[in-house]
């Protein structure tokens, strides 16, 4: 069965799998995208202080965060930026296209 897979609807739906800062929330309930998890929630160790608890050297802690982030951001953030299970499910139900990551 020939399907116009590159229809505008699919293109827009697939486009929502781009990094979260380019996405627009849809009208229906439920999140349009899953924002990237902060490192503290992803289980990776972090020395970032909680809000309201500023260290004596805020700049140093920021640098510490950056140096840690360089080692930990790669794998999980890569996957988080492009994985959107809810949107993928929507695409599948809309046009019958399966998407495997």
């Amino acid at each position: 069965m020939q399907m116009n897979i590159n229809s505008i609807g699919l293109t827009q739906a697939v486009a929502s799998n781009r990094p979260p800062q380019t996405l627009v929330a849809p009208a229906q309930s439920g999140p349009a995208f899953i924002p990237p998890l902060p490192l503290s929630q992803s289980g990776m160790p972090t020395r970032v202080h909680a809000s309201g608890d500023r260290p004596s050297s805020f700049h140093d802690s920021h640098l510490t965060y950056d140096s840690l982030a360089q080692g930990t951001e790669g794998a999980i953030n890569q996957y988080m930026l492009t994985q959107n299970f809810a949107k993928r499910d929507e695409i599948q139900s809309m046009v019958g296209i399966d998407i495997y990551a």
Binding site: M3, I5, N6, V14, N17, I34, S42, G43, M44, A75, I76, N77, Q78, Y79, M80, L81, T82, Q83, N84, F85, G96, I97, D98, I99, Y100, A101
Partner: protein, 232 residues
């Protein structure tokens, strides 16, 4: 003058199989390259390509249709398809990447066929580009990979070609080992969750199976080297 048994043993050992020490050095070098910020990126694309290619081949084998694949600079990718067996297609990605890595390692121990191996792999990338590449980014990444695999054909130094392809194969297997581990930290996303929803087996089972397969293929590569060393 060696006897017939010894001669037959030596004849059975492909001369492209490295020694144990060289294999460890190449593995460490491959591990180092995967950690480098810019140099390791094309090899991550290579693993991602074989991952999506495996999804595509599993789709075709199970009677489905592949629409197109998408590759991203951060090493992620999608395979858009219709029909086929979801369990087979979903499992094929991570498993296939490790499998391809081992296959390429085997090809890299075949001195006479090393140029044909590079040509075959480069041709596979170009064919995928023609059949399944749709957006400019994916086409650009696939062209880069084709260049990575076809440009070495200009070299005449066979040992360098063998070593280079072995290191590439090891990098693919190492990336195939690291990629499923990421899924442990994610909830509600990924092929493992899709497989869990289509079967009675939890997501962690699928992730562990991929990790086991990837580790197994690395072990098979080591075993090939170890056996060749014993026969020498």
């Amino acid at each position: 003058m060696p006897d017939a048994v010894t001669a037959s043993r030596y004849a059975a050992v492909p001369s492209g199989v490295p020694g144990r020490g060289r294999f460890i050095l190449e593995l460490l070098f491959a591990l180092l390259l995967t950690r480098l910020p810019y140099l390791g990126v094309p090899f991550k694309w290579l693993e991602s390509f074989f991952h999506e290619l495996s999804h595509g081949l599993a789709t075709l084998l199970s009677g489905g249709i592949v629409s197109h694949i998408q590759l991203f600079p951060n090493g992620a990718g999608f395979c858009f398809s219709q029909g086929g067996a979801p369990l087979l297609i979903g499992f094929a990605g991570y498993f296939g990447a490790a499998c391809w890595g081992y296959l390429i390692f085997i090809l890299a121990t075949w001195p006479r066929g090393i140029r044909a191996s590079f040509a075959f792999l480069g041709g596979a990338v170009l064919l995928s580009l023609l059949l399944w590449g749709r957006d400019l980014l994916t086409i650009g990444i696939l062209l880069t990979l084709a260049g990575l695999l076809l440009l070495p054909l200009r070299l005449n130094h066979q040992p360098a070609l063998l070593s280079g392809l072995r290191i590439a194969a090891l990098m693919i297997m190492l990336n195939a080992l690291a990629s499923p581990a990421v899924l442990f930290g994610l909830s509600g996303q990924g092929d493992a969750v899709m497989l869990a929803q289509n079967s009675w087996l939890p997501a962690w089972f699928w992730v562990l199976s991929w990790l086991s397969c990837s580790a197994g293929f690395l072990y098979l590569a080591w075993r090939r080297v170890d056996r060749a060393s014993l026969l020498r």
